[in-house]
Structure formats: structure tokens, C-alpha cells
């Protein structure tokens, strides 16, 4: 793909990680061969970085209560909740255990489906990067990682996977925030060749803001995500960004 064929829209999509992998490779190839294109990409990336920096800590956020609601509707809700608790107490008590068991079948299936790994050939190494706390992306991170590990295990090939989270993506591995604690624990138990890491710089920033940051067990801390990714790439690892 020649430079003149790469439109600004296409280049923006490249910067925003919206292209298919084959298209990304083509753009990478064009960038390598064309300094002017390289400058355009740098300029757009710089612009994106500046945007994020400019709104990193917007001024004047009120520490408001969750949501203002009229006292009348609040009272109604409290009364309704009490009534519901009374009426549903007994049935709720009995159905609770059933509901909890219902929520976990997938995880149980995953644990039961564990198969022994068979060593053969070289070890494939992949680093998976997540920087967004969008639940779809967090879920995709775990799904992709798991399917990767599973397919390699099934085909009796060796693979080592490292998931690194930075920016809002660290929510995946924060003990008091993550909705995926159980799943991550199970994945770690199931796949000893899977490692979770967070960016030390992001942790530092969160602590500076006064947030208490506790990580899930067995989560490593890298000096910075960029450094870790660079290190792994230079060691020949594959890179997947979610």
C-alpha cells in the first residue's frame, strides 16, 4: 500500500487500533518505507497523547453523593424494599443457594475441562495488552487469553502468555474493583504459563490521587507497561492489544 493511498481516515483508524491485523501490517510496512508517513503517524499519536494528558485531571469535580433523589421516592423505595424483604425472605433464602450455583457453571466447566499439557517443540510467547476498563474489553482480554491457552494446550504445543494492564485497564486486576477475581484466580490455577502484570506508573498515579490500590494475588508489577512491552518485543514475543 503506497503512502498516497493511505487516507487520513485510514491513518486515524490505525492510530486508534481500529484496523484488522492484515491492514495494520500493511500500514506498518508503509511507515517503515516512508518517512513522511512516519511523521504523520507521529503527529497523530502525539495529538492523541496530548488529549489524554489535557483531561487527565479536569478541575472542580464535586464529590457528590451517588445520586440525588427526592426524599419521597427514597422513602417509597425503602418501604417497598422492606416489604419485599419480608415477603421474599423465605423464598429468597431457599433460592439463594440455587442462584449462586447457577452463576458459576461456566467456571466449573472450565476447571473440569483442564487437560494435561504435553511438551513439544519451542515455546510460543505472547504479551496481551489492555488499557481500557470497558467491560467488553476486559472480558475480551480474558476470553482471548483463555482461548489462546486452551487451543495451544489442546494441540499439545507450548505457550507462555503475559497479560499487562495499564491506564484504566488496571481495573481488571484491582482487588477491590475487578469483577473477574474468581475467573482470574481459576485461570492462574489452570494455566501456570499465564502471568498477570500491571503498570507501575499507573499504580503510582492512582496512589498520588489518594486511591487505595490493592492487587489480586500473584499479580506482578512492571516498572511501566511501555517498558515491559518493549522488553518483550525485543525478546521476540508476540503482541496482542485488546
Amino acid at each position: 500500500m503506497e503512502q498516497q493511498n493511505i487516507s487520513d481516515e485510514h491513518l486515524n483508524a490505525f492510530i486508534d487500533n481500529q484496523l484488522e491485523s492484515s491492514e495494520r501490517i500493511q500500514v506498518f510496512d508503509s511507515i517503515r518505507r516512508n518517512d513522511n508517513l512516519k511523521d504523520r503517524v507521529c503527529e497523530l499519536s502525539g495529538l492523541k497523547e496530548m488529549m489524554q494528558h489535557a483531561y487527565n485531571s479536569p478541575p472542580g469535580q464535586r464529590q457528590a453523593a451517588l445520586v440525588k433523589q427526592s426524599s419521597w421516592s427514597m422513602q417509597l423505595q425503602i418501604i417497598a424494599a422492606c416489604l419485599l424483604l419480608l415477603i421474599g425472605g423465605v423464598s429468597g433464602w431457599f433460592s439463594h443457594n440455587w442462584a449462586v450455583n447457577e452463576a458459576n457453571p461456566n467456571i466449573r466447566d472450565i476447571v473440569n475441562a483442564t487437560q494435561p499439557a504435553v511438551a513439544s517443540g519451542n515455546v510460543r510467547k505472547v504479551i496481551v495488552h489492555v488499557s481500557n476498563s470497558n467491560p467488553l474489553k476486559l472480558q475480551a482480554t480474558l476470553d482471548e487469553t483463555e482461548s489462546l491457552l486452551q487451543s495451544y494446550r489442546q494441540s499439545h504445543h507450548l505457550i507462555q502468555v503475559e497479560v499487562i494492564a495499564n491506564k484504566h485497564g488496571v481495573d481488571l486486576l484491582r482487588a477491590n474493583v475487578s469483577n473477574y477475581k474468581k475467573r482470574i484466580t481459576l485461570l492462574q490455577e489452570k494455566y501456570p504459563n499465564l502471568k498477570f502484570m500491571v503498570c507501575g506508573q499507573t499504580l503510582g498515579k492512582l496512589r498520588q490521587k489518594g486511591e487505595a490500590v490493592a492487587l489480586l494475588p500473584h499479580t506482578g508489577v512492571a516498572t511501566s507497561a511501555a517498558e515491559q512491552i518493549n522488553k518483550r518485543l525485543s525478546e521476540g514475543w508476540g503482541y496482542i492489544r485488546i
Binding site: D16, Y55, P59, A64, A81, N134
Partner: protein, 186 residues
């Protein structure tokens, strides 16, 4: 499905919404550049989300659903207050602030310059570029949040970034040319 689990789910829903408050505020601020208005927008969006919680079919889509509610709140606000914008006040601002030392200093700082550039973008472009850059939503998600075709997302984003580049150059502090004057003293 038990009643207790329903109540627990509602609490969980509130917690998840509350966790998104700083991000909603950041985006609302990038749209309005007004702290009080941004706070009100976030509050309104959260109230609407709680009232219409049953409309969220897939919990995984909470983020884009909540941001689309806030986009609607912003659109409503803009429609209601469009006529009230005081042009004279804007003129005063420009005349009063141009070239004052404070203004020049603020403009020289990168954060102020980027915010000023974003503020100068047309509203539609501003929304797209902030959703993509600050919230890192995919183009498809942005299209769904703003209820526009994906092609429009791409073209608005492209125009927004191109305009941002020009504006940032425009807002960059002008370098004055200093000519060395040599005086001969006898």
C-alpha cells in the same frame, strides 16, 4: 430468580455506575469546559440510568449505554440553552483576554492550549474526538453512543484532528524575533 438477588443486583448496578462517575465527569468537562455544567450533566445522566436500569439488556454494554445517556442529556441541554448564548459576552471575553500576560502564560501551557483547541471544535467533532481519545471507545461504540453512522464517526474524527493540529499551531505562543542591537560607544 430470587428477590434478594434482584436487590443485590440493583446495589451492584449503582456501584458500577458510581465507579464510572469520574470518567463521565471528565468527558462532560471536555464537552462543556464548565465544571458546574459537567457536574450537572453527570448527575442527570446517572439519575436517568438508574431510572431506566431495566432497559440495559446486556450488562457488558453498561459503559456505552451510560455514555449514550449522557450524550442525550448534553444534546437536550444544548437545545434548551442555545438561544441564551450571549454573543456580547463572547466578544468581551476576546477583547478583555487577548494579549494579557495571564492569557499569554496560560496559552503557553500545553494543557490550556489543548483544552482551548478542543473547546474551539464544532460540537459534533468535539464529542467524537473525546469519546475516542479519552474513553478509547471503538468507532462502532461511538457510532452507537451518538446514534450516527460509523462513516460519520470517521470523517468527524479526521476533521477534528486536522482542525486540532491547526488550532494548536494557532494557539502556540508566538516567538518574537529579538534582534541584537549593537551600540558603539566612543
Amino acid at each position: 430468580m430470587s428477590i434478594i438477588s434482584l436487590l443485590c443486583r440493583r446495589n451492584d448496578f449503582q456501584d458500577r455506575i458510581e465507579q464510572l462517575r469520574p470518567r463521565l465527569y471528565r468527558l462532560a468537562y471536555s464537552w462543556s469546559h464548565n465544571a458546574a455544567l459537567a457536574d450537572d450533566l453527570v448527575q442527570e445522566a446517572m439519575i436517568k440510568a438508574l431510572k431506566n436500569a431495566n432497559q440495559l439488556r446486556d450488562p457488558l454494554l453498561l459503559n456505552s449505554w451510560l455514555f449514550s445517556i449522557m450524550a442525550n442529556c448534553w444534546r437536550d441541554h444544548f437545545r434548551q440553552h442555545k438561544e441564551m448564548e450571549d454573543i456580547d459576552e463572547l466578544e468581551d471575553f476576546h477583547y478583555a483576554h487577548n494579549n494579557t500576560p495571564e492569557f499569554t502564560h496560560a496559552q503557553s501551557q500545553i494543557v490550556a492550549r489543548v483544552r482551548a483547541a478542543v473547546e474551539a471544535l464544532p460540537l459534533a467533532q468535539r464529542q467524537v474526538v473525546t469519546l475516542v481519545d479519552l474513553e478509547e471507545f471503538s468507532y462502532i461504540e461511538v457510532a452507537s453512543i451518538l446514534n450516527i453512522p460509523i462513516g460519520t464517526v470517521m470523517s468527524r474524527l479526521c476533521r477534528a484532528r486536522s482542525r486540532m493540529k491547526d488550532l494548536l499551531n494557532e494557539f502556540a505562543p508566538q516567538r518574537t524575533v529579538h534582534t541584537e542591537k549593537i551600540r558603539r560607544i566612543k
